[in-house]
């Protein structure tokens, strides 16, 4: 398996740490404003070009943002891309549109409420100026098309001159009430009419006068009834025609065009549910190899499977696991080992995983252990008991990689998120707060961790040694957690969600 042989060409030294600046905020909370549950953001995703950003929330809505700084006009986009950007340019977005993707439902057979909360959003291939995306809640995946449509203002009707141009045509509104079209009264002209060879000059075609457009989102397909458990991931294949959806025990393969059948490719459900020890927590297709996908488990392992081998890929091609440190086992070992998110780097060679305590970077050519481990929550280790009591230990933090693969990021509590440099030799470890002043908190947090000097292990541990900074732990607020964030595919820009607000930063 050669997942991207091209080695990331490292510059002479490790890249300089980035200086993060606040860029934008959408839906900022005013002091004392109470956050509505439905407004809390539950998914963030950039599209492939980075020109669009989508967020989903617990109320089942999807909000789209579009980039304003590079694409002033569609027609000029290509020219602009060729031009050198002024250095201070950074991605700026504006609200584009929003739509209600999912509604709360009730499964009468299982007597089960289905939340409308958007679990994941994935962008699909743009075609002909229309945007396409997949959104999913716990059970149902939907395929959306968002497109500019001309606002029709019609004049020059054959019948009654429209009195109010623009609000539909009066002439036919009398007919549109009946389910059968207006012709029902007049009989079929096919049979009753013979037309003169030159046609009938008194007839005229309607004229569309307005050229205004507005955005319309239409649900094109619904992929339903294929998951018994909650869907945790969806991921598009590089072939542009298929995608997978994963729940706790199964991964299904779909064709985007076919919504009434899917193929089960992974099934970890044991014959007897009492034997269940491990569930699927996240799954993603390889960015370029259409036959490869990775999924993570609640036991902290990542499995790489090859769809070529077999129709049902219960046996993995490769297993990535970190050997357990001897003697360190405790009640929490398994809980905190559970991987909440995995992402492939753009080149497909590296994978990033997030468990409760750490971020781990894996090389798909090395299954003996991670290439690097970044401590995110080491300072919480003494408090695991409290975190277990208030269920925080089960929080699912997402992770992301920069487009150049040099940095990784993930969220934490108190609306903080951390950015680490993962290039060889880099010691970059920045803590930022999702607020208008992202570096406000940095003083409190370790920014220059010492490097492990051990040459025996290739694992580089950083950011762990200074856990005492927050010794009393009071300043950490477990109710404000930053779970969702995304890195712009081509530039150093991060979008992250703090409750109902979307913050954007650049460097």
């Amino acid at each position: 398996m050669n997942g991207g042989d091209e080695v990331v060409t490292a510059p002479a030294g490790p890249p300089q740490p980035l200086d993060w600046k606040f860029s934008q905020v959408f839906g900022e909370r005013t002091a004392g404003e109470e956050v509505q549950e439905v407004d809390i953001i539950s998914a963030i995703e950039f599209d492939k070009t980075g020109d669009h950003l989508a967020t989903g929330d617990r109320g089942g809505r999807v909000v789209l943002f579009e980039r304003t700084d590079t694409k002033d006009h569609d027609a000029l986009r290509r020219d602009l891309e060729r031009m050198d950007h002024p250095i201070n340019r950074h991605p700026e977005f504006r609200y584009k549109t929003e739509f209600q993707s999912h509604e709360p439902e009730f499964d009468y057979l299982k007597s089960l409420e289905i939340e409308e909360k958007i679990n994941k959003i994935r962008w699909c291939q743009t075609a002909n100026g229309a945007l396409f995306l997949l959104s999913t809640n716990d059970k149902t995946i939907k395929f959306w098309k968002v497109q500019e449509k001309k606002v029709k203002k019609i004049s020059e009707m054959n019948l009654d001159p429209p009195k109010a141009v623009g609000n539909g045509c009066v002439a036919s509104s009398s007919n549109s009430n009946s389910p059968t079209p207006g012709l029902a009264n007049g009989g079929s002209p096919d049979n009753d009419f013979s037309f003169p060879p030159g046609g009938l000059p008194s007839l005229r075609l309607p004229v569309v006068t307005s050229q205004e457009t507005n955005l319309v989102a239409r649900c094109r397909r619904v992929y339903a009834h294929a998951h018994d458990y909650h869907i945790n991931s969806i991921s598009n294949n590089s072939d542009g025609e298929t995608f997978i959806s994963a729940d706790d025990l199964r991964i299904n393969l779909w064709n985007l065009e076919i919504s009434n059948q899917s193929f089960n490719i992974v099934d970890v459900k044991p014959a007897n549910m009492e034997d269940l020890t491990e569930v699927i927590t996240s799954a993603e297709f390889h960015p370029t190899h259409c036959n490869m996908l990775a999924y993570s488990s609640s036991k902290g392992s990542i499995r790489l499977i090859d769809l070529r081998q077999s129709a049902l890929c219960d046996s993995h091609a490769k297993l990535f696991e970190e050997p357990e440190a001897p003697g360190s086992r405790s009640f929490f070992t398994e809980i905190i080992a559970s991987i909440s998110d995995i992402k492939f780097a753009k080149d497909g060679r590296y994978m990033l995983s997030r468990d409760y305590m750490t971020l781990k970077l894996w090389d798909i050519n090395m299954d003996s252990g991670p290439v690097s481990t970044f401590q995110v929550h080491e300072y919480l280790r003494p408090k695991l008991c409290d975190l277990y009591e208030n269920d925080s230990i089960f929080d699912k933090f997402e992770c992301c990689l920069s487009g150049d693969g040099l940095r990784v990021a993930t969220g934490s509590y108190s609306n903080l998120f951390r950015v680490f440099g993962c290039a060889p030799g880099s010691t970059e470890a920045t803590t930022l707060e999702a607020s208008k002043n992202p570096v406000r908190r940095q003083v409190q947090m370790p920014s220059r961790p010492s490097r492990s000097l051990s040459s025996i292990t290739r694992v580089v541990r950083r950011g762990a040694e200074t856990s005492g900074v927050d010794a009393n732990g009071n300043s950490f607020d477990f109710t404000t957690k930053l779970l969702h964030l995304a890195w712009h595919p081509t530039e150093n820009s991060i979008a992250c969600a703090a409750a109902n607000s979307l913050y954007m930063y650049y460097a």
Partner: protein, 588 residues
Amino acid sequence: MAMIDEPLYPIAVLIDELKNEDIQLRLNSIRKLSTIARALGEERTRKELIPFLSENNDDDDEVLLAMAEELGVFIPYVGGVEHANVLLPPLETLCIVEETCVRDKAVESLCRIGAQMREQDLVEFFIPLLKRLAAGEWFTARVSSCGLFHIAYPSAPEALKTELRTLYGQLCQDDMPMVRRSAATNLGKFAATVEAPHLKVDIMSMFDDLTQDDQDSVRLLAVEGCAALGKLLEPQDCVAHILPVIVNFSQDKSWRVRYMVANQLYELCEAVGPEPTRSDLVPAYVRLLRDNEAEVRIAAAGKVTKFCRILNSELAIQNILPCVKELSTDSSQHVRSALASVIMGMAPILGKDATIEQLLPIFLSLLKDEFPDVRLNIISKLDQVNQVIGIDLLSQSLLPAIVELAEDRHWRVRLAIIEYIPLLASQLGVGFFDDKLGALCMQWLKDKVYSIRDAAANNVKRLTEEFGPDWAMQHIVPQVLDMINNPHYLYRMTILHAVSLLAPVMGKDITCSKLLPVVINASKDSVPNIKFNVAKVLQSLIPIVDQSVVEKTIRPCLVELSEDPDVDVRYFATQALQSSDQQMMMSS
């Protein structure tokens, strides 16, 4: 504006509704586009309607799909083939839209129009359109372009032909896998129009590119092209170029590719001729029959008969039959099921002796398979073996298999075997049937599941058709009518249903003497559902029996039912009476 003559009103509405808010009305107008065109006349259709439609490209997909379809047959309405080119612009925009089905339809319509266009118009209008699409910014345009080359190519002058081939080569290497898939899908069609020398060079190099694509989905479609290309090439070229590819594909890393090969392989045998078939394709096929992946074995097993038909029987017995034996005990039930659905067809190919010696044991073991689908598939193709070796050799094992299926706990299995009973009856003959299967047919009428009772009633009718009314009078009718006294009303209802089905087959005499009295009796039933079903059955008997019987027996009964306390009984009785009135009026 509102000066529309009364008779023109419908057509005026139709035109206005091209832009109605209601999608159903727009769809309706688009489907009647030819009427609108005729009303406008050819010239205004060209100058106004077609440009109008070209503008209308952001409508809903359903409307665009209908438009793409209508435009394909629009040549007469724009003034014949010399004006066909005006239809190209609206279809060109439809070739770019996002929805696949709209694009496919637009391409289909463009092909249809292009096939009728005059040669100089093709060069002047069609080929430039094709080149624009092939160089389109969006992949959707490039996907569509692949399906148009085979129309454009034959009329192109030599220089343009070279350009088109180059263009197609570029599409085969497009960045987007969607475009490469479309190029792979359409390669066979395009190749059929290309001259032999270029075929061997240009097309084969494109084919090579596609067969080495990174994307499984592209290679899959390249496999599909193998057979089509193979048929175009001379046998020796086919052996030189296609054969190595297909043999390679049969060992591809991806099971999906091997699956496609398993499905297609037999088609290639003819193209390469008998000797390479024996030396290369048979070993490849044998490998596929023994593939690790069950899906591949399913595909290969399903083609066993087709493949053997191409080989001589000696080769089939020597190479394929051992695999077939293995497959009959495959660990996957789906493989056995696929095998069972075709294996009976091998009997005529192998001949009587080989069938008895080699195939019969396999049939018998499949008949005892634990998976019902396997047994059903064998039984459904019984007629093919019957012609070769007769049924006797099988009947010993057949009966237990049938009985077991008839009593299977899954109702779908029982339903499937009922469907085959008339076939079995015709193959096994009256004697065998009477002894063993008659009782089963009666038992199904009392099944717990409605669908089975319904099918059983139908089965009784089909058996009567097979063996004739006399036989039915002896072996079916008495037993069926006996059951009208069953204490459970649902079973009584089944019998009423069976009676209504049997009556037309049995003829009026037996209907009057045997069936009608039973129905009339049932009208005294205590359950209203039975009574209104009596009314329905009586209504269905009216056309069969003589008018006098209707007057004397049926109508009085219906009149009585029409005064029943139950509203549904009254309703159906009245319905039946009305229909009998109509019947009388018509006959008088």
